[in-house]
Structures are given as C-alpha cells and as structure tokens.
C-alpha cells in the first residue's frame, strides 16, 4: 500500500508553484525547498500531474503537496506521480482514499526505481507464472 498524508491545513512555510509554471528549468532554490504545493484549480485541470513528475525527476526530495479541487477517488493517481500529501478543498471520505490506495498494486507504467510495473513482473521468473496466453489463435 502506498503512503500518503492527508493534511487539514496548508503549511505556511511551503513554496507555492503557480499552476501555469511548466517547471522546465527548476532552480536549486525550488529543489531544496522542504515543501512544495502544486495546485489543481479545477478537477479537470491535470497540469499538476505533469508538474509533479518534472519536480520528482529533477530530484525534489521534500514533501510534495497536492491541493485544490482534488478527488478522494484519485488518491492513488496523485501518489503515483510523486505527491506525498493531499490537501482537499472539499469534503472527502477517508475510507474511499484508503480503498483507492490499495487498488492496482502493480500498474502498466513505471515512474521511479521503486514503482511496481507489470512488464517487470512478466519478465521476472518468480512472478511470470501468472502469464497465460501468448499464442495466436490458440483459444
């Protein structure tokens, strides 16, 4: 299960990154910040997913906070792209978050050295026995 903190208040000392910031060139100041807040101004605005990926890729090790119009049913999505804390604008059910984080223990995509990806399981001798099929038209 993935660990993700749910926070009630946004920390005052956190660095806020604008939603329009492409984070193409990330300064050492940003990288060394202990906490960064990325914003989802509306649920449909998914820019911060890619911003999180860029920050993690650049080596950001601090607390990455997703804030704004975020959903409990998407908790795992935030975690996979690199968020470590969630701050909700709207009411949310902790049970839904917990269930969501336990979903899909392996996924089709790999995001970092630790993430569990299906293709690695297919290639690993111990986990490859879960394979079936593989022959064309073999019913």
């Amino acid at each position: 299960m993935i660990n993700l903190k749910i926070i009630d208040l946004l920390p005052a000392d956190a660095l806020k990154s604008e939603n329009t910031n492409l984070l193409e060139n990330i300064s050492p100041k940003i990288l060394s910040a202990p906490k960064i807040i990325l914003n989802f101004p509306t649920f449909m605005d998914g820019r911060a997913f890619s911003q999180a990926r860029r920050l993690k890729r650049a080596g950001f090790k601090g607390d990455l906070i997703a804030s704004g119009d975020i959903g409990a049913d998407q908790a795992r999505q935030y975690a996979l792209v690199g968020f470590s804390s969630l701050h909700f604008d709207r009411p949310h059910d902790p049970k839904v978050i917990k269930n969501n984080l336990m979903q899909y223990p392996v996924s089709y995509q790999k995001f970092n050295a630790d993430s569990k990806v299906i293709y690695e399981n297919r290639l690993n001798k111990k986990t490859a026995q879960l394979l079936s099929g593989g022959g064309s038209f073999s019913g």
């Binding site: 605005d45 999505q77 792209v81 899909y104 996924s107 995001f111 079936s132 593989g134 022959g135 064309s136």
Partner: protein, 550 residues
C-alpha cells in the same frame, strides 16, 4: 491476437469493482452528478439525449467471435437488441440503465473487454488499419504497437485530465486506411534500407470545429522509443495545451499556435530527459512477449465448399458484385479479406442486431479463424477467408442481411448518431443517410458512380468526419429548423484534404436532391477511369456550384 494474462485480468477486475462502488455511491446520493461525471466518463458512460450510452473499447478494432457473442448478449439483455459500431472502431450501446452498467462491465471483463478511457479528456482507444497483418502493402503489422500503446495508456495517472481528448491512430501501410493525418498523433510504420523498423510520427491533426491535417514531428522514430516519444508529446501538451476554451484545447491548436518547429523542439527536449530517466520505453524482452501474441496464424484451413469460386463468380451476379466491391487482397495466396457492410440499403449506418452478431460470430469461427475487425468506416471485416469458402460465406451472410455489396460506394455512408440520440446535435444524420441510401439503391447505378465517400455529421463537432468526405454534409440549426451544409472534395487517406463548402445550405427537403445533382454532374463531366474525388480535384468546385445554385 492479444490474450490477457493474470495481470491484465486483475486490472480489469479492480476497475470494475471500483466503478461498481462509485455507481452505488452515486445511486445512494453520496456523490453528486458533478462529482460522478468524470468517473462515469472514464468508464465510457455518457448521458445522452434520452438515456445513458456505454461505449466499449475495441483495441485497434480486432475482436474474437466470443467477444462478439458477448456484445450480442449485452445488446439483448441490457439494450434493445442491437449495438452500434463507431468511427473509432468501438461499439456502443444506446439504452443501458446506470444500475446495470457494472454488471455489463463485468460481463465484458469476462471476455477481456472494457470501456476504460472511451470518453473523457484522456488517451482514447488506439485505432489501426482494419487490414493489419494481412494487407499486401504492409511494412509491418501495426497491432502489436497498438497493444503496447494500449497498455501504457491504460489508467495512466499523469494523463487522466488532459486539456482535451487524445486520439492515436497507427498504420503499417503507406496507403492510409486509418486516417492517421486526422488524429492527435498519427503513426506510420517505416522500414529503413537496413531493415530497421520505426515510425513516421504526425501530430496535431484533427477534425471537429477546426479541421487540420497533421504535421510530421519526427520523420523516423526507432521502434524501441515509441512510448518515450509519445510520453514527451503528451507531457508537453498536458502542461501547455490551452485550457481556457474547450474548442481550442485539442493538441492541434497548440501545434498551430506555436508552430510545428517550436513544438518539435519542446518535445525533443522533454524526450531527451525521459530517455535519460529510462523508465518509459518497454525493454526488448517485454516487447517480445507482446509480439508473440501477433504471430501470423497457420493458414492451413481446408475449405469444405463444393462450389467452385470461379464458376460461382461467373454464374451468380450478386455474388460477383459482392466480390468486386467487398473483397480485399490478402498477403497469403488463396486467402482474402472481406468487408461486411453495416450499411444495408435504407438501414442505420453501423447498427447490427444481436441476432446478426450471434450468427456472424459462428461464421467467423467457421471461415475466418474466429476473428473479426471493425473499421473506422463503421463496417466489419473478416480478414482470413479462404477464397474457396467465399460462395458459402456469401450465402450465409446474405441470409442475415449482411452481404450488401456496397463497400466504398455511394450508400456506404458514415453518419454520427445525430439528433436521434445526441444532446449536442443540431440536426438528424441517420434519416438523411437512410434517404440517400434509398435514393441510390440500384447496385448497378452505385457501381457506375464508383468509389464515393459520403459523411454526415449532425453538428460542428464532426463525429462523422464530414470535412474529409468526398461529399460531406453538416447539420446546422437555421432559425430553429434543421438545415444542411454541403461540402465537396475532402479525403482522409494519404492524399488528405479538407472539403470546401459549396455555398448556402439546404433544407431537409432539398439536400437529397442537391446530392443527386452533384453526383449526376460528376457522371457527366468525369473522364474515363475517374472516381468522384479525381474529377473534383481536376475541375474544382465551379461545375458543381453552377448546377446547385443556378
């Protein structure tokens, strides 16, 4: 074709359980419609004019007879006894009840099918050439690559809320049967002189309100870097695509506004970073596992037919007509691919009844290795038929009204659901398609007219691709009445072009006559051997305009 392993099954089982819980929370009032909407859309559930609609993904348009039987069952059990094939090779059901949808998804999962990402602002089903793997002009089979894309894009957390929907099409042939120039990303498989496989990558094509032909962003992308390069395109789009205006949010506008050169540089820079990270591209061994599923079948079928193909072709005119129009060459000698037209004269384009589906599934088992394809022109294909089986297949198809010999002809019309189903439409499309089909019901006249692609959209969103019809029709609202604009000269293949409007629109009563006028004019002025689009390209709009508005 691809067969699920336990990992694929597991993903689907969890997804179905997750959506069952979400539907229950919606029915219990825990979720508002606003909160529920993105969840249902992510599972292919639309709310249309009269009812919910469920769109089921058919990855790259290939499915088995058992999957078709399941569609038949769903149509019978949860719908009104039919299904509808779409222009993106999917099938949709127009009348399911919300409370039943989790059960339908469970039924689908039992045959390795789902409705994930058939709606919403995410990466949709990757479409492919319907003759993939059997086309004589093919460089390589595009389906394994489409499957690789399917897996990578399924439940991709980063790209679940893009600025707008995102569609990828892939072809293995230079002759483009997959309309790759009108997709957000179009891929054409290329082979170098040294035998290396890669892709020509196009970006920013699309139809809708602003039709644009895609631009080449990379002339040759080595196959091993397919996913990393797609990810670079998607990330750059997700970060910088417009979100201020829904109608300017597709990637085509981003490419148009920035210019392809600038966009290429942005993508290139991001791609280099992804390559360094090295998490995205599939290792060769993992890629091989997927390719194993697409090895060519043993073409060792022994036909039982007692009728000789040549004799039957000579004696039976209707059979000969069907062969002439609906048969395609096959890379294996003695075999053919056959288009099963879902455009019976006067029928609804793309519709097929549950009874027809069940019988067709049986025919696919007997004659075509149990496999069926759907096409972006809303027809089906049996891709592995022995030529000696064709007379028997034709008679069996004819018995269930699936042997209409009109592939590529005037009555092979693409139409969106229009105002009969869709909340966005301004005008009806289906009745118009039916009227045109009835007007040109004489098969000899249809053959005389030759290849002609008519596409009818009920509104500016262009779901039936009217911009790229040789004859395109667009439904508009004219002071509260349904009216139709006429376009000529569009084409969706490798010679892509966008049609031009003839002039003022036509009323519902006038439009069919106007189409007949255009066709009669073409027949008068064409040179020997020309099809409609050739004549239009040679002479332009003027001769048609003159007679339409004299």
């Amino acid at each position: 074709m691809y067969q699920y392993d336990a990992y694929d099954h597991n993903i689907l089982a969890q997804r179905t359980a997750e959506f069952r819980d979400q539907v229950q929370r919606r029915l219990d009032g825990e979720l508002t419609e606003e909160e529920f909407r993105p969840m249902r859309l992510a599972n292919g559930v639309y709310l249309q004019l009269h009812a919910y609609m469920l769109r089921v993904a058919i990855p790259y348009g290939t499915f088995t007879s058992n999957q078709l039987r399941k569609f038949a069952y769903i149509g019978r059990e949860y719908d009104r006894g039919y299904g509808h094939f779409t222009t993106r090779q999917n099938i949709q059901f127009n009348w399911p009840k919300l409370i039943d949808i989790p059960d339908i998804l469970e039924d689908l999962a039992s045959v390795e099918m789902h409705a994930i990402q058939t709606s919403g602002n995410c990466i949709r089903n990757t479409t492919a050439d319907q003759l993939a793997g059997v086309a004589v002009d093919e460089v390589a089979d595009p389906r394994p690559y489409a499957e690789i894309i399917r897996q990578w894009s399924t439940l991709h957390p980063e790209f679940a809320n893009l600025p707008r929907k995102f569609k990828i099409a892939i072809t293995g042939s230079e002759h483009d049967r997959a309309a790759i120039k009108f997709h957000d990303i179009g891929l054409e498989i290329k082979k170098t002189d040294q035998g290396n496989i890669g892709f020509k990558v196009l970006v920013g094509g699309g139809l809708g309100r602003t039709p644009i032909i895609g631009s080449v962003i990379k002339g040759f992308l080595p196959e091993k870097h397919l996913l990393s390069y797609l990810e670079a395109i998607l990330r750059a789009y997700n970060l910088d695509g417009r979100r201020d205006n829904k109608y300017k949010a597709r990637i085509k506008i981003l490419v148009l506004e920035n210019g392809i050169e600038t966009y290429r540089e942005t993508v290139e820079k991001e791609w280099q970073e992804i390559l360094q990270e090295n998490y995205t591209d599939l290792p060769i061994a993992a890629q091989k596992l997927i390719f194993k599923h697409f090895e060519p079948p043993e073409y060792d079928h022994k036909p039982k037919s007692i009728i000789s193909f040549d004799d039957y072709y000579k004696d039976q005119k209707d059979f000969a007509r069907w062969i002439n129009n609906n048969m395609h060459d096959h890379k294996v000698v003695g075999y053919a691919a056959i288009t099963i037209s879902l455009k019976p004269i006067g029928g609804i384009p793309g519709d097929i009844s549950s009874n027809q589906m069940d019988t067709l599934a049986g025919l696919a088992d007997i004659y075509s290795l149990g496999e069926i394809r759907s096409t972006h022109e809303q027809n089906l294909v049996l891709a592995h038929v022995h030529k000696d089986d064709l007379p028997a297949l034709w008679r069996d198809l004819d018995a269930i009204d699936l042997a209409t010999p009109n592939h590529g002809l005037v009555s092979d019309i693409i139409a969106c659901p229009g105002l009969d189903y869709c909340a966005l439409a301004n005008a009806r499309s289906i009745p118009l398609a039916q009227e045109i089909s009835n007007r040109f019901d004489d098969p000899a006249r249809a053959e005389e007219i030759g290849e002609l692609k008519i596409k009818i959209s009920g509104c500016i969103n262009a779901c039936a691709h009217h911009h790229v019809g040789h004859i395109g029709i667009l439904g508009v609202d004219k002071k509260g009445k349904e009216a139709y604009q006429l376009m000529l000269g569009g084409s969706a293949n490798e010679n892509a072009s966008i049609g031009k409007i003839t002039g003022r629109g036509f009323s519902e009563n006038e439009i069919i006559d106007a189409i007949e006028t255009v066709i009669e004019t073409y027949l008068k002025i064409r040179n020997d051997g020309e099809i409609f689009i050739d004549t239009y390209n040679r002479l332009g709009m003027e001769p048609f305009k003159e007679v339409l508005y004299d």
